[in-house]
């Protein structure tokens, strides 16, 4: 096994570029056709706080329905927040209007999961990658755009001569590169990657992950990297936030989360990942969670994980555990936080 080459250091020493505090997003559940009545709320994101530091990659992991994609959409201002605050370089994202908002949209870009549906099949690659310049014409004068698009294609490892091709002429991995080129067009400072490699085959996935790593070094980008594959997240992230039912249950550096997890959910999640080594069969203590994730419409009282947790006690149902530093280390939202090594 090759030892780690990557250093833990976050470039810039930890100046925050995005600060999120107590962010909440509830979607109303309505019944009725003409007269809509709200009967409840899907608590997709329910009080999330974290910082994204300049030049770092923050991994966000969790199972489907934990709110990780909604979090991305709220930060992009694609859906309005319910409450809470988020700042970009010290300014409140949710209060921005007009030119300030346009500038924000330039600074934060997104790469989506499915490269088959996130590209318009009737536009050429040149039009897709160049479209951001139409919306933000101040970034590049019209005459230089074609050249700029070709440069971008080159940067992401595509042939610049393919500028007039259509998305269907590319493979899945190449399409994801087109999506990345589009996200890079406006020279953003932050790119939110929402499951960027989960639709790709292993060999192609590695190519795209390496590309994302190279681009970060080249352009000093900060990534918020959302994924459900814990191996992928470990590979790219400096820090990792683990989400469960709309809340961050544990957050820390990559080493803290993977080697010294203290929240039972993190431990269960890590333990569920199969290890590609048949010789370890039967030697590994695994944690198997029972049942499914509860509905975010009516989450359990107290600690949301308690219904599936093997450590749960009366206290867990009564009092919601704070996300605070436990055992003198990183933040974990468990009353009975306890270190346990699960990754071999």
């Amino acid at each position: 096994m090759s030892e780690a080459i990557q250093s833990d250091a976050t470039p810039g020493g930890g100046e925050s570029i995005i600060e999120v505090r107590d962010l909440v997003k509830h979607f109303p559940v309505q019944v009725g056709i003409l007269f809509k009545r709200t009967v409840g709320h899907v608590k997709a994101v329910d009080g999330v706080s974290f910082d994204l530091k300049r030049g770092e990659t923050l991994g966000v992991v969790g199972e489907s329905g934990c709110g990780k994609s909604t979090l991305a959409q709220v930060l992009m201002r694609l859906v309005p927040q319910t409450s809470g605050s988020a700042t970009f370089e010290g300014r409140d994202i949710f209060k921005m209007r007009g030119s300030e908002l346009r500038k924000l949209r330039r600074s934060i870009q997104i790469v989506l999961q499915d490269p088959y549906t996130s590209l318009n099949p009737r536009m050429t690659v040149g039009d897709i990658v160049g479209e951001p310049f139409e919306i933000h014409p101040e970034v590049a004068p019209k005459a230089s755009r074609r050249q700029k698009v070709q440069d971008l294609l080159d940067v992401v490892g595509l042939n610049p001569e393919h500028i007039n091709r259509y998305p269907h002429q590319f493979s899945g991995g190449q399409r994801q590169r087109i999506g990345i080129a589009r996200a890079l067009a406006l020279r953003p400072q932050v790119i939110i990657c929402d499951e960027p490699v989960s639709a790709l085959d292993v060999s192609i996935q590695a190519q795209v992950m390496n590309l994302l790593g190279d681009l970060q070094d080249e352009f000093g980008l900060s990534y918020m990297f959302i994924a459900h594959d814990l191996g992928v997240v470990r590979h790219l992230s400096d820090r990792v936030a683990v989400m469960y039912l709309g809340k961050v249950v544990e957050i820390g550096t990559e080493t803290e989360i993977y080697e010294h997890p203290t929240h039972p959910y993190t431990q269960a999640l890590l333990s569920a990942v199969p290890v590609p080594d048949p010789s370890l069969r039967g030697q590994r203590q695994v944690i198997r969670l029972e049942g499914d994730v509860p509905s975010p419409v009516d989450p359990p009282s107290g600690c949301r994980f308690r219904t599936r947790c093997w450590k749960a006690q009366d206290l867990c149902a009564e009092e919601q555990p704070e996300l605070i530093s436990r055992l003198g280390g990183h933040d974990s939202a468990c009353h009975f936080a306890e270190e346990r090594q699960v990754v071999p």
Binding site: A206, H235, E254, L269, S279, V286, R288
Partner: protein, 340 residues
């Protein structure tokens, strides 16, 4: 909490159930002839788990569909080979007999459980359907048996759930219901085509545990089709690696992971981000798999292979026997397996 102990045994002495022998299949489309399977052979014994590993387009699912007889023909045409179940060639059987085997002998579960279930019938009705048709059970009996089956796949409150529709089930429960359905007639061979790809890791672990448990209990032959090297390592007895419609390597699971015998397998393992390792750059496989409409001469992996020599672009490597049940279709297989 439990210690997972999946036995990793040699099942070659138990009964040979299903054998795919030199299967060739192509799709004749308006764009040309796509050579999807080019001489695929594998077999599965009672109680054995065969994992078929490969990327999209490698032909792993088409082989399974050919076994089940659900490839659309045309455009699909089987141009050679046999699929033998208990020694009987399925490709020569009448439709009626084939249906019988499909019902009672070999069963399949698919990746996407939601689109494999009919949304307008209750889960119980769908599980019971085959019991009514094949076993002549009454509705009541079939319902009762469906409850038992749902119980067996550990769906809580099976009695209530049996009357629900697929949309009322979560992803993991739908896959459990699919498993219950596929086991209703006690098949000897179960083909699981990417059964956990659409599921979260914690649910994936539950489903794999369940499949393994049922297999051991019933001594079923299990063909697990997947692209996930992790899942394979935890459950497979033996592995067949597919690339461009061919099996490029065949080996016992422990052997394959200890020392891959084909450059493609090696490259796949190197390009996988692992939970227990971190590092700056992943090894990648350059380029893309070949178009099946136009497979290059020589070894189909040669254009992407770091070890490729002149011979590789000219001559198609035969599948070589390396002993101990291992085969590899690489000109330099011996060197690879014997490297230190």
């Amino acid at each position: 909490m439990s210690t997972v102990d999946y036995s990793n045994g040699d099942h070659s002495n138990s009964e040979l159930l299903l054998e795919v022998d030199d299967l060739w299949l192509e799709f004749r489309t308006s764009d040309g002839v796509a050579k999807v399977l080019n001489g695929v052979s594998y077999n599965v014994h009672a109680g054995e788990t065969l994992a078929v590993l490969g990327e999209s387009g490698s032909g792993k699912s088409v082989t399974a569909q050919a076994i089940m007889g659900i490839v659309d023909m045309p455009p699909g045409v089987i141009t050679g080979g046999e699929i033998r179940y208990h020694g009987e060639d399925l490709l020569k059987l009448s439709d009626t007999r084939r249906r019988e085997i499909r019902a009672e002998g070999i069963s399949i579960i698919f990746q996407d459980a939601l689109s494999s279930l009919n949304p307008v019938y209750t889960v119980g009705f769908q599980i019971g359907e085959q019991l009514r048709l094949r076993r002549g059970m009454s509705r009541k009996e079939a319902q009762k048996r469906a409850i038992e089956l749902l119980d067996m796949v550990k769906i809580p409150n099976a009695k209530g759930r049996v009357k629900q529709y697929p949309h009322e089930f979560s992803g993991g429960m739908r896959q459990r219901a699919m498993i219950a359905m596929s086991l209703a007639l006690d098949p000897e061979v179960l083909i699981a085509d990417e059964p956990t790809t659409a599921l979260d890791v914690t649910v994936q672990a539950q489903i794999m545990d369940l499949l393994k448990e049922i297999q051991v209990e019933r001594q079923m032959g299990l063909i697990l089709i997947t692209h996930d090297l992790g899942v394979v390592a935890e459950v497979a007895d033996k592995i067949a690696v597919m690339y461009a419609g061919r099996i490029v390597e065949r080996a016992a699971a422990t052997e394959l992971y200890r020392m891959p015998g084909h450059p493609y397998t090696l490259a796949l393992m190197d390009s996988m981000p692992r939970l227990d390792q971190r590092g700056q750059t992943l090894n990648t496989i350059k380029g893309l798999p070949p178009s099946l409409l136009n497979i290059p001469p020589g070894c189909p992996f040669a254009p992407r292979c770091p070890r490729a020599q002149d011979i590789c672009t000219v001559e198609l490597p035969e599948s070589k026997d390396l002993g101990l049940g291992r085969t590899s279709a690489c000109h330099f297989a011996e060197e690879l397996v014997n490297r230190v």
